[in-house]
Structure formats: structure tokens, C-alpha cells
């Protein structure tokens, strides 16, 4: 069995798009060959049990949301700790496959972050397998029950199948960038409607969405 750690770096944990993406990928890895275990890295606090499980894995699947064009801060702490412990351990180094989703429509806004992960692999002595950037991450909560390969996840299905094959063959591949199958303008309209619905749900007025806070010196 190939021990595979599915690492969810979203602070939203089980309810996140990252978890949904990891679930999609898990389905593409034959359970007769892959021992697939999920771990949530939702806080910066390093859990030694999780660290031990990650260290003994042969494949790491890392998924998280793009935060300010980069890796969420709590995940950077995990990456630094993993670099430290992997550099002490020479016997086995897993292959790393990463899936980064962003709230913007264009998947390639995750490109820099995949490079940050590639740089981390270089520092930690890990084998970089492949990265995937996924756009329009805000759509995942709306289509929570839609299976991979069905609209609007047809293109995503194709890209994930390609990455899944690379994982099963232990191969590296070029980064892939994919967005759900609907036009950018439809995503923009849907996202902006969802913010207005949320702000009214929270008992505020629509104009509060535009609120500017006067500076109070710390």
C-alpha cells in the first residue's frame, strides 16, 4: 500500500472547497493500492501526530485556498516545520502534489503560489510532482453535491484525472490551471449577489458593503 496523506490547509476545514477538491482526488486513487488519510492543517499549531503521519507518507496531496496571492500564513508555519523535520530524515522523501484554489475566476492567479511550494520542496528535499491551480473557488460551496466530471466540473474532471494518473505512476507533470465550466461574467454576477445576500442575512444594509473605516491610531 502506498501511504498517502491528504493535507487540507483551509482554515474552514471539512466545509471547505479544499476538502471537496481532496475528496475528488481521493476517488481517483485506487483504494486497493493507496492508503488515503485526511489531515486538517487548519491552524498554525503543529500537531506532532499529524507530523509523524506526514513524515511516514510516500505521497503528499496538499490543498489550500489562495490567500493574498500566496500560502495562508498558518500553512507557512506547517511548511517550515515540515522542512525542518524532513531535512533531519534522510530515509524517505515523499512526492508532493498540490491543489490551490482561488476566489478569482482565473486559475493562473495561483501560479506564484505553486512556485512557492516548489521552492519549499527544493528546501525540504522533496520531489515536486505536479501542481494544479483551480479558479472560481467560490463556486464549490454552491455545487457541493455535484460529482467530478459533471457540469460545472467537467474541465476540472479532465485535469484531475490527468494528475491522478501522474500520481499513480509516480510521475511529475507541468502545472495545470482550470476553472469551472461557466463564463467569467456569470461567476462575477453570482459572487457579487452572494455577498449582498450574506450582508442582508447578517442584518446589515447593502450600503454597508462599501463601508470605509476611519483610521484610529493604534
Amino acid at each position: 500500500m502506498i501511504k498517502t496523506a491528504l493535507l487540507n490547509g483551509s482554515p474552514r476545514g471539512e466545509r471547505s472547497a479544499s476538502r471537496m477538491i481532496l475528496d475528488f482526488m481521493e476517488e481517483l486513487l485506487p483504494k486497493e493500492q493507496y492508503e488515503r488519510r485526511h489531515f486538517s492543517l487548519k491552524t498554525p499549531y503543529i500537531d506532532p501526530t499529524v507530523l509523524g503521519e506526514v513524515l511516514s507518507s510516500q505521497v503528499l496531496l496538499i490543498a489550500f485556498p489562495l490567500y493574498v496571492d500566496g500560502v495562508p500564513s498558518h500553512m507557512i508555519r506547517w511548511l517550515m516545520e515540515l522542512e525542518r523535520v524532513f531535512s533531519l530524515q534522510v530515509k524517505s522523501r515523499p512526492s508532493v502534489y498540490a491543489l490551490v484554489n482561488c476566489g478569482f475566476y482565473e486559475a493562473d492567479q495561483t501560479r506564484v503560489t505553486l512556485d512557492i511550494l516548489r521552492n519549499w520542496c527544493e528546501r525540504a528535499g522533496l520531489k515536486w510532482g505536479q501542481g494544479m491551480g483551480i479558479g472560481a473557488g467560490g463556486a464549490f460551496s454552491t455545487f457541493r453535491n455535484t460529482p467530478l466530471g459533471k457540469w460545472p466540473f467537467r474541465d476540472l474532471g479532465g485535469a484531475m484525472t490527468a494528475m491522478g494518473l501522474n500520481i499513480t505512476r509516480q510521475l511529475s507533470g507541468p502545472d495545470l490551471f482550470v476553472s469551472p465550466d461557466f463564463p467569467r461574467v456569470a461567476y462575477k454576477v453570482a459572487v457579487e449577489y452572494s455577498w449582498r445576500r450574506a450582508i442582508k442575512h447578517n442584518g446589515l444594509k447593502l450600503r454597508d458593503l462599501h463601508r470605509r473605516i476611519p483610521l484610529v491610531r493604534p
Partner: protein, 166 residues
Amino acid sequence: MILLIHDLGAEEAKRLESTYATETVVVSDDGTIRHCVGCFGCWTKDPGSCVIKDKYSDMGALLGACTQLHIVSRCVYGGFSPFVKNVLDRSISYVHPDLRMREGQTHHRLRYDRPFRISVWFYGEGITENERETALRLLKANSINMGCPLDGVRFVESTVNLKGRA
């Protein structure tokens, strides 16, 4: 007003901060910062402010009021250190949740009218060529995302000779 965000230890911080004018607002690591939990409360529950109420909850307003943003950060894999990134993650109330096209891609609409200029100093021994290249592209992306001109990105081995432009 200059807003300085740094991750330096006490001694280095004192030396750097002493080179800035007194009206500079300094955001530094006192070990109390909490991480962004992805709740979007800064857009839909208390728009403009982070709903985690600590000394970093009004970063959006600070960015909206400053004319220059100076960042001094350890270079970590071509990105910011955990503390500096934490401050930036807690700053998304600076932008509005609606989307606009900038440079051919969707980005957030800006909440405040006046953009600030960004200058960054990355420090650390043995920053690799790939990390430098990644960091430059990261700052270019940040600059587009926040609608703010980028004044410069510099790489230094040590923070000893860093000076603010007071």
C-alpha cells in the same frame, strides 16, 4: 503616513524603527496575532474590519490611510514570513468583495480611493535565485491586487544596515 510591517526581533526592530519618523505606524510581532479563519466577516459581518478583535483587526483601515507601505520580512520560499503574511491575510478588508477587471484579470474592487506605494525588503541568508524570482512575481501580483504601485523589492542578507526613509 508610512505603515511599516516587519517581523524583526526586539533589538533589530528597535534599530530599524529608530530610523523612521515618529508618525510612522509600526505593525510588529508581539506573539498575539491570530490567523485568518476565512469567515469573510470583514466583508459581510463588520465590513472594513476583521471580526477577530485584537490589535490587528483594523489593518484594512491602516492600509486605507497610509501613503506608503514598507514591509521587512524574512524571505520564506520566495514569499513572506508567517507573521508578515498573517498581517496581510488579516488585511483583506482593505479591498471590497466585488470583482473588477485589472490587467486582464478579475481582482477585488478597492474600498478606499487613495492607493499607497509598496516597498519591500526581503532578508535572509542564501535566498535562492528561484526564490528571488518568485518573490518579485509575488509582489507584482500583490501590487495589481491591491491597486498599488510597487516602489521596489530588495533582497538583503542581513537586516543590520536597513534604514527607513523617514
